[in-house]
């Protein structure tokens, strides 16, 4: 068995009987056992459950009932609730919390026959761009263990990047799938807001949070998305849409117009810019046209994002009060003492910072200046994109201002927020966006971001697949 095999090849191996799903699960579990002390990609490994699920998958395969994901090992970001398995969101606040329900994403992927190996590390409550805010300590970048895997879905990206699991789920609020995918050299897709149910996905910023997938290729991500997506009666904001299908450009055009927004492409460090431009030119050589365009409100995205996400988070995290579940202070003297000590001990610094700023921006006297203004900016940014998509079929952009940075190197919160400059605009606009490996800078992976109009994931998958047929960046992996 080879750890960096595609889902399709693993499926063929299972079908041929080269190995059983149980053997496949055991193979990856061994890899996790060997590497996780070092990588810290998994918060929890659910070996027994995994082997049970794998045996069930073997029975399905034996009956000839398997689908493309039957028996395929996978990992869930620890933000997704798993029935009977502790779910912490990498927070001390949820230490010991065992949900009595599955997130819709978890239930659907289980129904598709996947074998969950465990829960992956992340920034606490998905608040961070480096995985360093995790209560369990940061996951590490498989390409350089001194570097961040990115965040917040850093554990999932690191696990797929290190070949500990073929695919994993993640969530993306302001870049939390795309940036770690880029840092760890894997493919990551954030679908259109509403494409994937948020039920059972622990809320950070509800109007932005969106579940998605990591894989070793566009095809793998596409396969996982196919099992996750679709309307869910338990989430009113999930869209009633048909399944994602590969599609061409506007009016089905095979040759697409790809926009390069000047706000994203100017001022990049030389080697990073060169690497990204070469990737864009690869698409041009494939017959697509590169068009430069402007998205004038890009600069305002990071501040608007941090106001809106903080505001929503301040309310979403109010339920962690020590009363019903999660961390509870011992021997409270009264109600306020219970709240104060439970929340002071349960939340980390970054989470507290965002709750405080969010509370502030929603307060009487500040609401208009911050929250409402940020909402107006958000509409402008949406408008920018929609107007751009009148002229182009997709947008190509960097994912992050540089490759993976060293752990501890970005210690100023605002500098950390600036990491999200290229990912927050698509989040605010609710658009599908994908990151795929497109080169190496100083031996570290770099990701190219493709952004599409709402519910045009199929167009991104088409372009991405074409790119991966012409290049081998996605096949590279760190030494094991």
């Amino acid at each position: 068995m080879q750890p960096f095999t595609s889902i399709a090849d693993l499926g063929r191996g299972l079908a041929r009987g080269d190995y059983s799903a149980r053997e496949l699960a055991a193979f990856y579990l061994e890899r996790i056992a060997a590497a996780n002390d070092d990588l810290n990609a998994f918060i929890r490994v659910t070996e027994e459950r995994a082997l049970g699920a794998a045996e069930a998958a073997d029975r399905s395969i034996a009956r000839g009932e398997g689908g493309p994901l039957t028996g395929i090992p996978l990992a869930h970001k620890d933000i997704f609730c798993t029935d009977g398995v502790a779910t912490t969101c990498a927070s001390r606040m949820l230490a010991g919390f065992v949900p009595p329900y599955d997130a819709t994403v978890v239930a659907r992927l289980a129904a598709a026959g996947t074998v969950c190996l465990g829960k992956t590390n992340m920034d606490e409550f998905a608040m961070g761009s480096s995985n360093e805010t995790s209560w369990f300590g940061p996951a590490r970048n498989p390409w350089d263990r001194g570097r961040a895997p990115g965040g917040s879905s850093g554990g999932s990206a690191a696990a797929v990047g290190a070949g500990l699991v073929p695919c994993a789920t993640g969530t993306d609020t302001g870049g939390s799938i795309r940036q770690p995918a880029a840092f760890c050299g894997v493919t990551g897709l954030k679908p259109t807001y509403g494409r994937v149910s948020r039920y059972g996905m622990i809320a950070f910023a509800s109007s932005l949070d969106q579940g998605g997938a990591f894989g070793r290729s566009v095809e793998d991500v596409e396969t996982v998305l196919g099992a996750m997506e679709g309307h869910d009666p338990l989430d009113s904001t999930s869209a009633e849409r048909g399944p994602t299908r590969r599609s061409g450009g506007r009016n089905g055009a095979e040759r697409m117009r790809i926009g390069l927004p000047s706000e994203y492409w100017t001022g990049l460090p030389g080697d990073l810019g060169g690497c990204l431009l070469a990737a864009a030119q690869e698409l041009e050589q494939a017959g697509h046209a590169l068009v430069s365009l402007s998205l004038p409100h890009t600069d305002a995205a990071v501040p608007a994002y941090y106001v809106i996400a903080g505001a929503e988070a301040s309310a979403n995290l109010s339920r962690y009060d020590g009363v019903r579940f999660g961390l509870r202070a011992e021997d409270p003297t009264d109600l306020d003492d219970l709240y104060r000590r439970s929340r002071a001990a349960g939340f980390g610094t970054e989470v507290k910072r965002r709750i405080l700023t969010g509370t502030y921006t929603l307060s009487v006297g500040y609401y208009d200046a911050y929250y409402l203004k940020a909402q107006r900016v958000r509409r402008r940014i949406q408008q920018d994109f929609l107007e751009a998509f009148d002229d182009v079929d997709a947008i190509a952009a960097p994912v992050a201002p540089g490759p993976a940075f060293e752990l501890g190197a970005v210690d100023d919160p605002v500098a950390m927020y600036r990491q999200d400059v290229f990912t927050t605009p698509a989040s605010l606009a609710g658009l599908p966006a994908m990151s795929m490996p497109c080169g190496l800078v100083d031996g570290l992976p770099v990701g190219l971001q493709l952004i599409g109009p709402p519910f045009e994931e199929g167009r991104l998958l088409n372009l991405g697949s074409e790119f991966q047929q012409r290049t081998d960046w996605h096949l590279r992996h760190p030494e094991t």
Partner: protein, 480 residues
């Protein structure tokens, strides 16, 4: 300054618990009365990752109410989060409606002392109820029961159009009747299905503008509304007359001490940091939805009262009694549908039916004598088949044993004797047997006629037609 120089200004906020089967944002049973926390699902408990889904029935009920008070109804409305910490508020915010309520300005018509008053309704909005804190059953602790959490409420806010405690109580009563007519609330005050807060201020009769107001929380009976407001008015006048000023605050009414006192530890101007709930899409009030709601609006109390007076010729008192409770009005109208007269039907219901119900503690929905049988009973009196007195006997049989009016009359030989020969024979006998009384009648003592009627009725076992007996007696007594 005497009390008559003061005017009080009162507005009510009435919380109407909507009679939906499930809760407003979850599928949990909304019925009252179960062991604590057995009717609260993961959504009601505010567990991590769960999401609210709007109960469309609550929307239809709110719209029905809006149409019944001729309110403005916007084409869209939305839900907001009202943020505050309290142990019986699981999410740390209440889902409510802030600046886009489902029901806008309307008007409610009511009668006070025979005059029609129109009370402005400022708005009505949907929200979820909180759970209950149980302070008394646990030493040094507070129990939390979340069965009520998520129960749908319609909060109706009146304009400060009420002027006296009696008027306020009448308004609450009218609202109680209306929501029961609309079938949107069971009206059970003991179970908290309707609760109200009263905003009260006083001003001198010649004063422009309003005085400082206080809010009295959680009044749950017509009597408490009247008493609490009356006491608060007296208190405010006393404060002002002794040179003090009214402090804006929230007060609680204590029916045992018959006084209001300030609520402890309640901050005056809490900042609830309302913002639109990103988990719920705006509600679109489509023409179809409105038409559905309109079809549910029955004849309203005010229209019924007009019809009873003008078309049925009933007195004000009868009308008031029969329309106060939609079940009583329904019973009355079903009785009329059998073809009997309105006045006798009203009398029977107000006296015999209500008396028996009160004696046995039943409500009219479970009255053992059906409206059909009552109508037949009244018809038999009108047809002269039985006398009113015998009808009372038949009613008692119906109440105790059930059955059919005609079958009871026949089986017990209660049919009225209207055979002129038979009655004439008895009349002659009675007249012959009492010569002394005959003399008295002939001397002009009309009252003696009653004596003879009584004797004849007794001799016929009550079955003689009293009208016929009268005529025949007068003939016989007039002499040869």
């Amino acid at each position: 300054m005497p009390a008559r120089d003061w005017e009080s200004v009162i507005g009510l906020e009435i919380h109407v618990q909507l009679a939906t089967r499930s809760k407003i944002f979850s599928g949990a049973d909304a019925a009252f009365g179960a062991a604590p926390n057995t009717r609260a699902c993961a959504v009601d408990l505010g567990m991590p990752g769960v999401l609210p889904v709007l109960n469309r029935e609550a929307v239809r009920m709110a719209l029905t109410f809006g149409l019944a008070i001729d309110a403005e109804i916007a084409r869209t409305c939305r839900f907001d989060r009202k943020n505050y910490f309290y142990p019986d508020l699981p999410k740390g915010y209440q889902i409510s409606q802030f600046d886009q309520p489902i029901v806008g300005a309307g008007v409610m018509e009511m009668e006070v002392d025979g005059a029609t008053r129109r009370i402005g309704i400022r708005r009505a909005h949907l929200e979820e109820d909180a759970g209950k804190s149980l302070h008394e059953e646990y030493a040094d602790m507070t129990g939390i029961d979340l069965n009520r959490a998520g129960t749908p409420l319609l909060e109706v806010v009146s304009e400060p159009d009420l002027r006296t405690p009696a008027e306020a109580a009448a308004f609450f009563r009218e609202m109680h009747a209306l929501v029961r007519y609309l079938g949107i609330c069971d009206g059970n005050l003991n179970e908290g299905s309707m609760r109200c807060d009263a905003n009260v201020s006083v001003r001198r009769r010649d004063q422009e503008g309003l005085g400082e107001r206080t809010e009295i929380k959680n009044l749950n009976s017509f009597r408490f509304v009247r008493q609490a407001i009356a006491h608060e008015i007296d208190r405010q006048i006393a404060v002002l007359e002794s040179g003090g000023s009214v402090v804006r605050e929230t007060r609680l009414y204590d029916p045992r001490g018959d006084e209001t006192r300030p609520m402890r530890g309640k901050e005056l101007s809490e900042d609830y940091r309302y913002f639109p709930d990103p988990d719920l899409l705006p509600v679109r009030v489509t023409p179809d939805l409105l038409a559905e709601a309109r079809a549910r609006v029955p004849e309203l109390p005010r229209d019924k009262r007009r019809r009873y007076r003008e078309e049925l010729g009933l007195s004000d008192a009868d009308t008031r009694f029969l329309t106060a409770d939609p079940d009583v009005a329904g019973y009355f109208e079903a009785t009329l549908a059998t073809g009997c007269g309105a006045k006798p039907a009203a009398n029977w219901i107000m006296e015999r039916v209500t008396g028996s119900l009160n004696r046995t503690g039943l409500d009219i929905a479970r009255c053992p004598v059906t409206s059909g049988q009552l109508g037949r009973l009244i018809a038999r009196i009108e047809e002269g088949v039985i006398s009113g007195k015998i009808a009372g006997t038949v009613f008692d049989v119906l109440w105790e044993e059930g059955g059919d009016v005609d079958a009871i009359i026949d089986a017990r030989g209660l049919r009225q004797v209207s055979d002129a020969d038979e009655i004439g024979r008895v009349v002659r006998e009675v007249v012959n047997d009492h010569p002394e009384q005959v003399e008295q009648f002939r001397a002009g003592r009309e009252k003696v006629l009653g004596f003879f009627v009584g004797r004849v009725m007794r001799a016929t076992g009550g079955k003689a037609d009293p009208g016929q007996v009268n005529v025949l007696l007068r003939d016989a007594l007039r002499g040869p």
